[in-house]
């Protein structure tokens, strides 16, 4: 295992090893490189080609190349095949391709090997599988594991998993070119203003990291309105677009990409001029990895960590949801115990009240166990004949570790000693020493921490205009068991809601806090929010223009939303007609975890009383929208009762997602 800083040239080691092994073997056979992210692979393939090494990759986003690559594999023309751990676990890929070439694998290379460890921040269950495969390898197949970020704990964990025969080569982690600085600016508006004021002074092109997809989008939009050439980069974007964006950054055609962790490990741009964190990452390992992308071939690159008031809330959320709650795991195992034939994921959704994401999380956790209590055959999961109990202690330990890492980053934010030294020590680097270059060492800011009030005001204004589109649902989750769908899978266009708008994200820096206060503290949504929505409607200008307003009824809070909707209707100069009635109590929709249960919970709960003017287009108002099924179901009922087009309006959309 090779532990060396980013930019040290780890890939050259395995390129050369792959080439030598193949030459020794009479130009037959190949090495297999398992690497976690596509962005990494594109870079590495280009680099390999420059060294005269034929590398190829097969992944979910280059299906058009598969036939060609497979042909080359079978023709023994490839030195190095790069695949993701997920691909390695993919049954179809394994049977169709890998098994064909697997007899000729000369060496296995595991890049970003810290992912093997539970303790590493980027722990991925699929890497657990790699560790098991490595343990089963005979000793005539060499294995090379590489990483830039492994502290002692991680190294020990990897040694335990791979066996005592692991040799560890460890180099110094310090990066001489990085000039570190931390700036605490609590409100998002201040940080947006800082970026607008100082992005131009940062050298070359760089990366601005955010914790969530929504933040990446929003920071991008703000900077674009300020005339900067920046683009968002996160896991929700299609692969071709991501590739295009990477290329733009590589060739300095953009000032910055505003990215989540999706722009990840090993993205290799030697002259990346700066890395700014809009929010504080969850751990030193994570942070070090991300800043390590800057300044590889430069004498100097600027690294700024902006910390803010929402950092801990977001990170706490990630920590809280990292592992599935024990009850979810138990529910899935119980369902499997009751199913002699096993269950597909779709069947699990019907049997247990868990979302697809929650089910996936449980399945990933269970599959990562060694041995695992479940096994997949085809599309179904069955119970494996191994004893199993949920390892509560392991989960508690890891959660405690994540908290400790979070705390360490909080300390780093305030560090009064050399920032690079702090990071190196945190990573157990035996060669740690003061850098002489960071803001602490030189005793002066590298970039001014100042923001001007005018820009801050603009940023506040901007944040309050960050409404979110609400996409209409087009499909019912099931044809069966739901009376509202009338046996159809698709929601006919004539009954669908139109695209709607939410004023903000739940709890965000614009309107979010006000909505939250309204819902939980005051039981009343303020007139400020009414004005916010009126402004939003003006910008939005939905067509055909709605002529009346109605709202989602509630038996639990009978006045909260109707009262708000009435005031909104008044301000818009439209009649408010509360013609939707709740005829049966439902459980809180947020307790319903997947589409089937969400719609089932609402099925038959509402009635629409027709009135003479209802054929005109209408605004349908709710406060907080989560899955969107309530709006979908009521829109269908309104249309069935003869209303015109239905435009949903919500105060906030519930969403918090990394990636």
């Amino acid at each position: 295992m090779l532990v060396q800083r980013t930019g040290w040239g780890k890939s050259i080691v395995y390129f050369i090893a792959a080439r030598l092994l193949r030459e020794q073997n009479g130009n037959k056979g190949l090495s297999l490189l398992i690497s976690p992210l596509l962005s990494l692979m594109r870079n590495q393939i280009e680099m390999a080609e420059r060294m005269g090494i034929h590398a190829e990759t097969i992944h979910s986003a280059n299906t058009e190349r598969w036939d060609a690559v497979e042909k080359q594999l079978l023709g023994d023309e490839i030195d190095l095949l790069l695949i993701s751990p997920e691909r390695l676990a993919n049954a179809d890929f394994y049977g169709r391709v890998l098994q064909q070439v697997a007899p000729r694998i000369l060496m296995l290379i595991v890049d970003e090997a810290h992912c093997i460890s539970d303790w590493g921040h980027d722990f991925r269950p699929d890497y657990r599988r790699i560790a098991r495969v490595l343990r089963l390898l005979p000793r005539n197949i060499p294995v090379l594991a590489t990483t830039a970020t492994a502290n002692n704990r991680v190294v020990e964990d990897i040694r335990q998993q791979l066996g005592e025969e692991l040799h560890i080569h460890r180099g110094a982690l310090a990066r001489r070119s990085l000039r570190l600085q931390n700036i605490l600016l609590p409100s998002q508006a201040e940080r947006l203003a800082w970026l607008a004021a100082h992005l131009d002074t940062l050298p070359g092109s760089g990366i601005i990291y955010t914790l969530t997809v929504a933040d990446a989008e929003r920071v991008t939009r703000w900077l674009q309105t300020k005339g900067f050439d920046v683009h968002p980069y996160h896991a929700d974007l299609e692969n071709p677009l991501r590739e295009e964006l990477e290329q733009k950054l590589l060739h300095n055609q953009v000032k910055a990409l505003v990215a989540t962790v999706a722009l990840g490990m090993g993205f290799d741009k030697p002259d990346l001029g700066f890395v700014v964190h809009f929010q504080r990452p969850g751990s030193v390992v994570h942070y070090y990895q991300q800043i390590g992308r800057a300044g590889r071939s430069l004498d100097s690159a600027i690294i700024v960590l902006l910390g803010g008031e929402e950092d801990d809330e977001v990170i706490n959320y990630f920590i809280r949801t990292a592992f599935p709650p024990q009850a979810h795991t138990e529910a899935i195992l119980r369902a499997l115990r009751q199913s002699p034939e096993g269950l597909s994921i779709v069947e699990m959704e019907r049997k247990v009240n868990l979302s697809r994401q929650q089910i996936d999380k449980v399945l990933r956790l269970l599959s990562s166990e060694t041995p695992s209590p479940i096994v997949q055959t085809g599309s179904r999961f069955v119970l494996a004949p191994v004893p199993y109990s949920i390892d509560v202690e392991r989960i508690q330990k890891l959660t405690a570790l994540r908290r400790a890492e979070q705390e360490q980053m909080q300390q780093y934010m305030q560090s009064a000693e050399c920032l690079m030294l702090f990071l190196q020590r945190a990573l157990d680097d035996p060669h740690a020493e003061p850098c002489g270059k960071c803001a602490v060492c030189i005793g002066n800011p590298i970039v001014s921490p100042m923001v001007d009030e005018q820009t801050v005001r603009e940023a506040v204004h901007f944040l309050r205009r960050s409404e979110i589109p609400l996409e209409p649902r087009k499909m019912w989750p099931s044809r069966e068991g739901l009376s509202i769908c009338r046996g159809q899978g698709t929601i006919p266009e004539s009954l669908r809601a139109e695209e709607g708008r939410a004023l903000c994200l739940w709890g965000d820096a614009g309107w979010g806090a006000l909505v939250k206060r309204g819902k939980y503290n005051h039981g009343f949504y303020s007139d400020e929010l009414v004005e916010g929505i009126v402004d939003m409607v003006k910008r939005w200008n939905p067509q055909p223009v709605p002529q009346w307003v109605t709202c989602v009824p509630s038996l639990r809070h009978p006045h909260l939303v109707p009262d708000f909707a009435r005031r909104l209707a008044e301000s818009l100069g439209l009649p408010f007609v509360p013609c939707v009635h709740k005829v049966r109590e439902t459980r809180p929709q947020k307790e319903m975890q997947n589409s089937f249960h969400q719609v089932h919970n609402l099925d038959g709960a509402f009635e629409v009383h027709s009135w003479e003017g209802m054929a005109k287009p209408v605004f349908l108002v709710d406060d907080v929208v989560d899955s969107g099924w309530t709006l979908t179901v009521i829109a269908v009922l309104l249309r069935q009762a003869g209303s015109g087009a239905v435009f949903p309006i919500a105060l906030a959309k519930q969403v918090l997602r990394g990636g």
Partner: protein, 323 residues
């Protein structure tokens, strides 16, 4: 699953079928030949994993009749084998080679060169070393005979005597469940589909409670072939102290062939059901040296049957066995 011991690892590289094997894995006899030659030369089996193995393999080409290229290619498929093995081993499957503690010595003693190179198994491997009564019979049998098989297996269970079965439908299944449902232990020796059967709903609890061991000399997802069934039958007889044929068809099918092979090799003393429910074909086995299963036995089944076997050996002439 822990790393395999080196000799077992070498055996998997050389002999394991994965369902997709561009290079033909070694057959039992080829493997035996190779191991014999290495032993004569004084090379340990581990030597086959050393980097410069090719010259040694070339040297062995003539005496073993195994092309060096083929052996080298097999020895290099470690990544494929590891990838293939990981899935089921993480679902609880174990693999045992000749030198592993889980491998029952009785297979070496009785089957000698035919002792399977690899055993794939789920559940408690200790059960393989506890003897027991093999209860065998064809897949399609009358309800009455299935009931007999179940009843005898029940009785074994009550008397803490293990049942060994072929794990197929019909008699095999009735005997297996007859033992398990009565709280007894059972070894199911499978000719095919080990993985599917081991994850089946009915058997999971028994595997978990260490009452059942499912084992096969064939890879966990192999399909059924007549050849596999015969290989499986060998193991059923070899593992058992005594065997009982519930029903067979004379001159036809696996039960007949297996019983005959057992009598020829004298792996284990054989009883056969006779009487009104039993098919007439069963009687043909008597002519080959099987004993009639007594219609009424009091007390401990194992001891009674063993004493019948011993008294026969003392008192009767040699059994008419054609080899």
């Amino acid at each position: 699953m822990d790393a395999l011991q080196t000799s077992t690892q070498v055996a998997t590289l050389l002999c394991a079928h994965t369902g997709n094997d561009p290079i033909q894995p070694l057959t039992q006899s080829e493997y035996v030949r190779l191991v014999g030659w290495l032993k004569d030369k004084g090379y340990p089996l581990e030597e086959l994993l050393s980097p410069d193995i090719y010259l040694l393999l070339l040297e062995g080409e003539e005496p073993t009749g195994l092309p060096a290229e083929r052996l080298k290619a097999l020895l290099e498929r470690g990544a494929q084998i590891a990838l293939w093995m990981e899935k089921w081993s993480n679902a609880g499957m174990w693999i045992a080679g000749w030198e592993d503690a889980e491998y029952p010595p009785v297979l070496h003693e009785k089957l000698r060169k035919q002792a399977p190179v690899l055993l794939y198994g789920f559940g408690n491997p200790d059960l393989l070393q506890q003897g027991g009564l093999a209860i065998v019979g064809s897949r399609h049998t009358s309800e009455n005979l299935l009931e007999s098989a179940r009843r005898i297996a029940n009785r074994c269970a009550q008397q803490s005597w293990a049942v060994i079965s072929g794990g197929a439908k019909g008699v095999d299944r009735a005997a297996m469940l007859g033992a398990l449902e009565e709280g007894g232990t059972c070894v199911g020796v499978l000719a095919a589909d080990l993985a599917r059967i081991a994850t089946s709903y009915t058997l999971r609890e028994y595997l978990l409670s260490d009452k059942l061991c499912l084992v096969s000399p064939y890879h966990p997802q192999s399909g059924f072939t007549a050849g596999n069934a015969m290989g499986r039958n060998k193991m059923v007889y070899a593992l058992a102290e005594l065997a009982l044929v519930i029903a067979c068809e004379k001159g036809k099918g696996g039960t007949w062939a297996g019983a005959k092979e057992n009598l020829q090799h004298r792996w284990t003393p054989l009883f056969v059901m006779v009487g009104e429910d039993a098919p007439e074909d069963n009687l043909a086995l008597l002519e080959l040296g099987a004993r009639a299963f007594p219609t009424h036995i009091e007390g401990l089944l194992r001891e009674q049957l063993l004493s019948l076997v011993h008294s026969a050996q003392v008192g009767q002439i040699a059994l008419p066995i054609e080899v």
